[in-house]
């Protein structure tokens, strides 16, 4: 049962980036469109699952003193793989995400999971943890991207969804819109979680 628990906690209790306020740069930067949010989320999930797997396999071999450096090397290797895979098979997305693909390496969520979870837990649990947190992150980014895309350009996944006289709020797809939108979502999450009984 605990595999299910580790998998599902990423969708509410520890939903990044809302409940764990980490990994903000990609969250803010690439969510001008739902599709980009989805792409970033999937790339991050790929890195997170494999780095959790490898860190968990190596958890008894890595000496405590150099563990952070080792985790960074593990994560960086998978980031390079993700970079090359995106270049080969999803080039428009690679272009759209730009500098934020190599920057997955410093996404604190991934290092955080390696240090807090994968280094202490067996392989299956670490995989479930990585997949759950990664998919939670993907959903958050897609939702945030969707909201900003609808308000900022009147579209969702590139298709017109608003009525024809709708004036797009240009600032929603710029930096200020990203911060304000995330701020309101965080506040909303606080209101909702207060209504639900604490676990």
């Amino acid at each position: 049962m605990s595999v299910v628990k580790e998998f599902t906690k990423g969708f509410w209790q520890e939903l990044p980036p809302f409940r764990l306020v980490l990994g903000l740069c990609p969250t803010l930067a690439v969510t001008t469109m739902a599709e980009n949010g989805l792409g970033m989320g999937l790339a991050t999930t790929f890195v997170l699952v494999f780095s959790n797997l490898l860190v968990s396999i190596l958890r008894k071999l890595i000496p405590g003193k150099v563990r952070i450096a080792s985790y960074i090397v593990v994560i960086a290797s998978f980031v390079v793989m993700a970079e090359l895979l995106l270049q080969a098979y999803w080039y428009p997305m690679y272009k759209a995400l730009g500098i934020f693909v190599p920057l997955i390496v410093v996404n604190c969520i991934i290092l955080g999971r390696a240090e807090a979870f994968a280094s202490k837990n067996p392989i299956i649990l670490s995989l479930a943890d990585g997949l759950g947190i990664g998919l939670g992150f993907t959903i958050s980014l897609t939702v945030l991207g969707g909201i900003r895309e609808i308000l900022g350009s009147g579209k969702l996944f590139g298709a017109e969804v608003m009525w024809s006289s709708f004036e797009p709020l240009g600032f929603m797809v710029k930096a200020p819109g990203a911060f304000v939108c995330l701020g309101f979502l965080l506040g909303l999450m606080n209101i909702i979680s207060r209504r639900r009984p604490a676990h």
């Binding site: 740069c25 390496v105 410093v106 309101f184 506040g187 909303l188 606080n190």
Partner: protein, 192 residues
Amino acid sequence: MGDYLLLIVSAILVSNIVLARYLGNCPFLGVSQKMDTAVGMGMAVIFVVTLAGMITWVVQYAILNPLGLEYLRTIAFILVIASLVQLVEMFLQKSVPALYKALGIFLPLITTNCAVLGIAIINIQEEFNFMQTVVFSFASAVGFSLAMVLLASLRERFPTARIPSAFAGMPIAMITVGLLALAFLGFTGLTG
């Protein structure tokens, strides 16, 4: 000379590293609650970013390019930055204890500050020469510190403001940053 001035103004105000390029947000929001920690972090970032910008530039053009290993850039840069931070920490501890005391607790945090890696990668992508790299790295870090000091001075007033309880803490900080970014949008077009 004019080119460099343009580069500086654009890095600090027009494309501010935090408010327009979305880099370094975690430490930006994490340690901007008080003015003195914001200043300390800002100083540490200026120091490390400028050094890291220079060293990664040399690594790219002296090691990776001649050997055809460009695809290893991400790994190489993050290793350079991580070891640089360690070295700076040890060096300051031994030789400039006063500075170490002021910056000490902020240094380890800098390894995962994506502004450092981000600026290093931008330097390469924009094909800056060495002098431009130094100027751009320094100015970007100054921009980071400016934004952080501005936010800290705003956040210090939060305790006396009436904020809805659901928005206390991170949500209101985010919205404040949004307004700050909106103000910085006003600099668009300043450098043509």
